[in-house]
């Protein structure tokens, strides 16, 4: 049930960044990754999202009502450092493209574009080209992307960098809402996210070269 990662190890270039990381998250569970710069948080998230092949181990997601396990990436939203929006298109065009393209895993549980923009507190400016917005506004609309198509798992990489306090709160309430609906959240961060009851995983960074491990 839920998201299960077993014995994950990954490398960048030649060095192993981490080994033997396992965790499991049930519906409504959240896991926060912390650690110094370069300790491998982003790498772990990309492994979970299926964007990077792990050196060993596996990640899978099993839906609540039963059904078979499948790659976690397919049931997940991934929000990286970049927002995956085209600056030339308006916010509306961007969002409705992703709504269509990502499809609705939960069968219509995603919000419509207007509602999502309201939810992130920027209802009035969804008609502007994405490129015209400030860094924080862009980030908010990137959150809106998570809302337009329902996916049980959210994978977030430093979601609140460059956000102001109000946006931080907004983000925290979005995440709690998602958890309350039975979602799962996995986030890497340097700042406290204001989530209660979330597990925390401290990354140490640098698990050594392959030789060290063999030895």
């Amino acid at each position: 049930m839920g998201l299960i990662a077993e014995n994950l190890a990954a490398r960048r270039g030649e060095d192993l960044l981490f080994v033997d990381i396992s965790f499991s998250l049930d519906e409504g569970g959240a896991l926060i990754l912390t650690g110094a710069n370069g300790s491998g948080k982003s790498t772990l998230l990309r492994v979970v999202a299926g964007l990077l092949r792990p050196d060993s181990g596996s990640v899978s997601y099993t839906p609540q009502g039963g059904g078979e396990a499948r790659p976690a990436g397919e049931a997940a939203h991934y929000l990286g450092h970049r927002n995956a929006m085209k600056p030339e298109l308006t916010v509306e065009e961007n969002l409705s493209f992703w709504k269509d393209f990502l499809g609705d895993a939960g069968g219509g549980a995603g919000l419509c574009v207007g509602e999502a923009a309201e939810t992130v507190g920027l209802g009035g400016i969804a008609h502007l080209p994405f490129g015209y917005l400030s860094a924080g506004q862009q980030r908010r609309f990137a959150f809106a992307k998570l809302l337009v198509a329902w996916r049980p798992v959210w994978i977030l990489d430093e979601p609140t960098a460059a956000l102001d306090a109000a946006a931080d709160r907004m983000f925290a309430s979005l995440v709690s809402g998602h958890l309350a609906r039975g979602g799962i959240v996995l986030a890497a961060t340097h700042q406290p996210l204001g989530l209660e009851g979330a597990k925390e995983l401290r990354m140490k960074g640098f698990a050594g070269t392959p030789q060290d491990r063999a030895a």
Binding site: E74, G80, R82, E88, L89, F97, D100, L102
Partner: protein, 219 residues
């Protein structure tokens, strides 16, 4: 998938148009040749089909390197890779959109340029037809190069270089079909059918290979 097609088309039309620059470049290339060759009309109409085809080939390659790089730069590629829909299908749709945005305008512009090259009506029709059938193959081949180059910090030109050798068969059959249409003894259909077959072949192989390369590249 339809939404992907529409978005890509919109992007190529809106952002100042891959379409326009391609056509413009095409015109430049074709317009310069008469200056070189001089006003010898017979010679011009003789080399016309080849020049038009070469011009179209180069113009089609121009914007191709950004096909996936733009997606990577803003992070969309990650989301596309995570999708359940077969990646090859996504690539196929992107190729179609790219072709509709930049290849089709070239085909439409070609009769005009053929006129400059003093080609007769049959030859003009033949060039347009062969371009229509052959140019998608260039896009599909180019997609593989673009997918390989997505990992490169700045792969731009490299794509064209990797891709050009593979487009040579397309060029050869396209040009020879056109010549066959003009000169009576040679039959038009065989090279034309081969051209069509090449396009179909690359339409199947290209997206598959590109999808493979994209999977490799993600990091």
């Amino acid at each position: 998938m339809m939404s992907l097609f529409l978005r890509d088309l919109k992007l190529s039309v809106r952002a100042g148009g891959g379409a326009l620059i391609g056509v413009l470049f095409f015109m430049t290339v074709v317009a310069v040749v008469p200056f070189g060759v001089g006003p010898d009309l017979n010679l011009l109409s003789r080399i016309g089909p080849a020049i038009v085809w070469i011009g179209a080939l180069l113009a089609a390659l121009l914007g191709l390197d950004r096909l996936f790089q733009a997606e990577r730069d803003d992070g969309s590629l990650d989301l596309i890779l995570m999708q359940e829909t077969p990646l090859a299908l996504t690539v196929f749709v992107k190729c179609l959109a790219h072709w509709a945005g930049t290849g089709l305008p070239l085909v439409i512009a070609s009769p005009l340029l053929s006129l400059f090259m003093n080609m007769n009506e049959v030859a003009i029709g033949a060039v347009m037809l062969t371009l229509l059938v052959g140019s998608p193959a260039i896009t599909f081949i180019g997609a593989v190069g673009a997918a390989v180059a997505v990992a490169l910090p700045r792969g731009g030109l490299l794509v064209s270089i990797l891709v050009l050798p593979f487009t040579i068969p397309v060029l050869i059959f396209g040009v020879s079909a056109t010549y066959a249409a003009v000169e009576d003894p040679a039959p038009f259909l065989p090279p034309f059918m081969i051209l069509a077959a090449l396009t179909l072949l690359f339409a199947a192989l290209g997206p598959l290979a590109a999808a493979g390369a994209l999977r490799q590249s993600s990091d």
